[in-house]
Amino acid sequence: MARALINVPAKAKRGEVIAIKTLISHEMETGFRHTTTGVPIPRNIITSFVATYNKEEIFRAVLFPAIAANPFITFYTVATESGTLAFEWTGDNGFSATESATITVE
């Protein structure tokens, strides 16, 4: 299981714009490299990242090999209500990882 780090404020005021930072360990092999004997190294990347806030999608990204290893993505959302933010990464070779965080909105 890939290690994922997420940074979501534990508390926020209603309507506040909060920053969300996500980082996941993944080699992001581009598929454009070869071994010394000329054998192509197959592509192995994360292709999709989805963030949901109380099951409603708030952010979605399609990733390409040009994203650096250990994809780091920062974005913003409006703190509307207390609940759970869930994150899901999917990729080549059946890669899938999930992480979640809770937020209290006052």
Binding site: V17, I18, T30, F32, R33, H34, T35, T36, G38, I41, Y53, E56, E57, I58, F59, R60, A61, V62, L63, F64, P65, A66, I67, A68, A69, N70, P71, F72, I73, T74, F75, Y76, T77, V78, T80
Partner: protein, 160 residues
């Protein structure tokens, strides 16, 4: 088709042997696969934008102008938008001119984002132009272009 593939392989082999003295990325220059060119970047952009006009402005692509290591380049895109349910940024795309593939990332946002700013880290293989495009809820497209100088590109031919 098969013959063509065989031809490519043997040509690659010869080039590889010729470049045996050069190490790492140096050899990569001889054997690297077809690159994205400004033309393929144009095609990739057209696939996203369609026939719509793309205007410069509203988008701020923040990337260091001089990068030492192309393997990890911090990049941030901020789009000017009130982010209300009627006027918001729908999508942000980043393209490169000379990476093997022109696409970098495609981001889909909604009015709930509050602020149309995203950052990530990307790979850059060579000194080139980076283009960020924002699609607004009214269907208009805005862009920003930045030229980046790379001292050491993301190596495609690491010895494994």
């Amino acid at each position: 088709m098969q013959r063509h593939d065989d031809g490519r392989r043997s040509r690659r082999g010869i080039l590889k042997a010729a470049g045996a003295l050069a190490a790492g990325c140096g050899a990569a220059i001889l054997v690297r696969p077809a690159w994205a060119t400004p033309a393929s970047m144009e095609t990739a952009i057209r696939n996203v934008v369609g026939a719509a006009a793309m205007k410069p402005g509203k988008v701020a692509l923040d990337i260091p102008p001089l990068v030492e290591n192309g393997s990890t380049v911090a990049v941030s895109v901020a789009v000017e938008s009130p982010m209300t349910p009627t006027d918001y940024v729908k999508a942000i795309h980043i393209f490169t001119e000379k990476n093997p593939q022109p696409n970098v990332i495609g981001i889909h946002l909604g009015p709930r984002a509050g602020r149309a700013t995203v950052s990530t880290r990307m790979r850059l293989v060579d000194t080139q132009k980076i283009v960020a495009i924002a699609e607004m809820s009214d269907g208009s497209f805005w862009s920003d272009t930045v030229e980046v100088i790379i001292t050491l590109g993301a190596c495609l031919e690491d010895v494994i």
